[in-house]
């Protein structure tokens, strides 16, 4: 394809002036967070045998929200015993009955959507507009979708019957706490398994609030057990002999260590790990739409997204134009209090994550990439990082290879579709990719060339319970959601 000469280097900017600041528009609904949470085992909240609790703070202002029980090995064992006891009757329950519980759970979550959204934003730091319009409704959608599968499993695998695995140990991350809980619980329960779930230590609150929905729904005790804590608790969940399967979402490093730890045990495993997703912009793409897609791709949830479009690949002929449009767009992004309905970029989830982002950004500067950050005043308290662009990035730079998991975009260029595909695939990851072009046939060709589990064409960061999610290569094993996701929670038995 001939490369067009760049004719329009600078985008026009509309100037509205900065005389009038936005008024604060805080979400004021109560989150009903308890001062202290126990472990949810066998249908009841219980004190941890460790007698220890840890503080859960809000990244928006570093204030303490609640105390969370620290589960030790004995607590995790109690959770597995409860799940194992519950499996006998839960797995034998007719699919139509399991379905009804899941439908109920979806409905009860919808009822309390606002309260959960506020709690999610307080605990995790994501903008209230995202938890309100994305996380919570999507979590409910996952239960609703999988509810319908529970009595239709006979249609999933022609020639084979799906039977439950047993007790499943599930470990979820801090970037979408409630949504990841839904991604994990819904297919596991629909296929007749029981669960021991561990939320991330910085974001346990919505999982524990969710336990009250399970109680209200009348879910039999032990079917879902929630143990809270950090890495040690996670290791106890992974290594428990009663676990038939481990499902993990988190970093590639921890994912690899889990695969190693399970060696020789015969336990099933699914992993949903990191990524360094390429978002590819061809010169014939609708550029303004693409700019919105790029912004959504990297700044959605502060870039705390495993499939974030963190590597922008722009065709050379439009690279100048895209960069200038992005800089203008960045100026109108509002970074600050996530409870404010005007906020686009909220708080970074933790001090540790903020430190990592700072380290990698400093590394980008040191390696010679060109940094751009808009002027924006960040709140004094809490963990914040301004939306950041790096241009003149080379494939060898750390910011083009390592997952930053923050609001930092690295911009690279390409000339031909072949080069775009090669650069996009030149990574150990393979979670997702974005392709922006006006040509349908090119979308399909690029999709086939990209080593990634999800390809978004002229869109980005789209999710749906009916659409299987998961990566190639070191981005993980297995799929979550859709028909395909069910198979990872079941044995396939030959139909006589």
């Amino acid at each position: 394809m001939p490369v067009k000469k760049s004719t329009c280097p600078a985008a026009r900017e509309l100037l509205f002036g900065d005389l009038w600041e936005y008024d604060p528009a805080p979400e004021s609904a109560p989150a009903f967070i308890e001062p202290r949470y126990g472990l949810f085992i066998n249908g009841k909240f219980v004190a941890p045998k460790t007698k220890k609790y840890f503080d859960s703070i809000s990244p928006r202002n570093e204030e303490k929200l609640s105390e969370i029980a620290l589960a030790g090995a004995a607590d995790v064992d109690a959770a597995y015993q409860a799940a194992s006891a519950a499996f006998t009757s839960w797995s034998k329950l007719p699919g139509t009955e399991r379905a009804k519980y899941l439908f109920r759970i979806a409905r009860l979550l919808q009822d309390r959507a606002r309260e959960f959204a506020v709690a999610e934003t307080l605990d995790g730091g994501k903008p209230i507009t995202e938890s309100r319009d994305f996380d919570v409704p999507m979590a409910a959608a996952h239960f609703f979708y999988h509810a319908g599968w529970a009595d239709k499993l006979g249609y999933v695998t022609p020639g084979r019957k799906l039977t439950p695995l047993g007790v499943v140990g599930q470990i979820i991350p801090w970037n979408f706490p409630l949504l990841m809980l839904a991604w994990k619980l819904a297919p596991a329960l629909a296929t007749g398994n029981t669960v021991v779930l561990k939320p991330a230590e910085t974001t346990s609150i919505t999982a524990l609030k969710f336990a009250s929905i399970l109680q209200d729904a009348g879910l039999p005790p032990g079917v879902v057990n929630i143990v809270t804590g950090a890495g040690e608790t996670g290791a106890a969940v992974v290594n428990h002999p009663l676990a038939a399967k481990i499902a993990f979402t988190g970093s590639t490093e921890v994912g690899k260590s889990i695969q190693r730890a399970l060696a020789g045990t015969g336990k099933r495993l699914t992993l949903e790990l990191g990524g360094k997703t390429a978002n590819i912009i061809f010169e014939d793409a609708p550029l303004d739409q693409a700019v919105e897609g790029i912004i959504n791709g990297i700044f959605f949830n502060q870039g705390h997204v495993c499939c974030a479009g963190s590597r922008l690949l722009v065709q050379e002929s439009v690279a100048g134009q895209i960069l200038s449009k992005l800089k203008i767009r960045l100026k109108s992004l509002r970074t600050g209090d996530p409870l404010d309905k005007n906020t686009d970029v909220g708080a970074i989830n933790s001090q540790a994550q903020l430190d990592r982002i700072r380290e990698l950004v400093a590394c980008g500067v040191a390696e010679g990439a060109e940094l751009y950050q808009p002027d924006c005043e960040l709140p004094k308290k809490g963990f914040y990082f301004p939306p950041t662009l790096f241009s003149k990035v080379a494939m060898s730079h750390r910011i083009a290879r390592d997952e930053i998991f923050g609001p930092v975009l690295s911009i690279l260029t390409f000339r031909t579709p072949e080069e775009a595909g090669e650069k996009a695939n030149n990574t150990c990851y393979g979670l997702s990719a974005g392709v922006w072009t006006d040509k349908g046939s090119r979308i399909l060709k690029m999709s086939a060339a990209l080593k990634a589990g999800i390809v978004w064409a002229n869109s980005f960061n789209k999710f749906d319970p009916a659409s299987p999610f998961g990566g190639y290569r070191e981005s993980g094993l297995g799929r979550e959601g859709g028909k395909q996701g069910l198979l990872d929670y079941a044995n396939l038995i030959q139909v006589p």
């Binding site: 690899k256 060696a263 390809v455 064409a457 869109s459 659409s467 190639y472 799929r479 395909q484």
Partner: protein, 286 residues
């Protein structure tokens, strides 16, 4: 008149090779008499085989499904034509003629079974997904890449084919280590593969010692998946090594015997073990 004996060679990248190490191990026939020297392949031979498989990968993966089916069917034709010779190769180790014949028959049937799958599994495993947004959302299967196969010692032909066939049916290429105790049938199979229409490098067959090659099967980063029969220690070693590159694993215990003749030792879900699901979101609009 003195018989001309054959020098066994491994089938790698479409060529017949001896091990780069020059090492061999003698095999004997059922009476205990010397039969031939089998190559003892090394990790370097394994790496060369992976390279050959990598070269063959894109061409095989993008070949149309109907054509892949015909290529596999051609392999069945080759096996059928030399069935008696293959049966002799299996009974070399003392297996009865009757059992050897049965294994060859089942192997031919297995090849034909998979030949018929090449243009059908996609329709059963893929899907069009009813998402709530305005997108045409569809999931297709794609091959993982190169699959490492560690074949069982028992059923030196059927066991090997039962692991290799689903991988290549799905569009993957394969590098396989043949039975350690009965390697000769794999030598013969290589000759049949060479005269089928299978492109060079799609299937690569090595003979050698499991303990020497398993560590490289486990850690070679270009092997995207493994299908291996092994004991607990071997399975452990394979998974520990595989975790460095998050390989997809299909590990079959050798402690409990597998019925390779069984109906469920073949089929759609064996193919699925070596496939990735790719989901594309295509917007609907003007």
């Amino acid at each position: 008149m003195l018989k001309i004996t054959k020098t066994p060679k491994c089938y790698v990248g479409g060529s017949f090779i001896r091990s780069e190490s020059g090492r061999v191990a003698p095999i004997k026939d059922a009476s205990g008499a010397f039969f031939a020297n089998i190559p003892l392949c090394t990790r370097k031979d394994l790496r060369n085989a992976v390279e050959a498989a990598a070269k063959a990968g894109p061409g095989w993966a993008t070949r149309n499904a109907y054509n892949r089916g015909q290529v596999l069917y051609r392999l069945a034709e080759m096996l059928e034509a030399r069935a008696a010779e293959m049966s002799d190769a299996i009974s070399l180790s003392g297996i009865s003629k009757k059992d050897a014949n049965r294994e060859v028959r089942a192997s031919i049937e297995r090849v034909v079974h998979y030949a018929g799958w090449t243009d059908k599994f996609q329709a059963l495993l893929g899907s069009v997904n009813p998402v709530a947004s305005s997108h045409f959302n569809f999931t297709v299967t794609e091959p993982m890449g190169i699959i490492g196969v560690v074949a069982p010692d028992e059923k030196p032909l059927l066991g090997l084919l039962s692991l290799v066939l689903p991988a290549i049916t799905g569009g993957n290429t394969a590098v396989a280590l043949a039975s350690g105790t009965q390697p000769y049938p794999s030598i013969l199979l290589g000759e049949m593969l060479a005269t089928s229409d299978l492109p060079r490098g799609v299937v690569n067959l090595l003979t050698g010692r499991r303990d020497e090659l398993i560590p490289t099967f486990a850690t070679h980063a270009h092997l995207r998946g493994l299908a291996a029969v092994g004991n607990l220690d071997e399975r452990k070693a394979l998974q520990i090594g595989a975790s460095d590159s998050v390989k997809r694993l299909k590990l079959i215990p050798s402690e409990t015997p597998t019925d390779w003749f069984a109906e469920n030792a073949q089929g759609l879900y064996e193919i699925r073990d070596h496939l990735e699901a790719k989901t594309t979101w295509h917007p609907i609009g003007a």
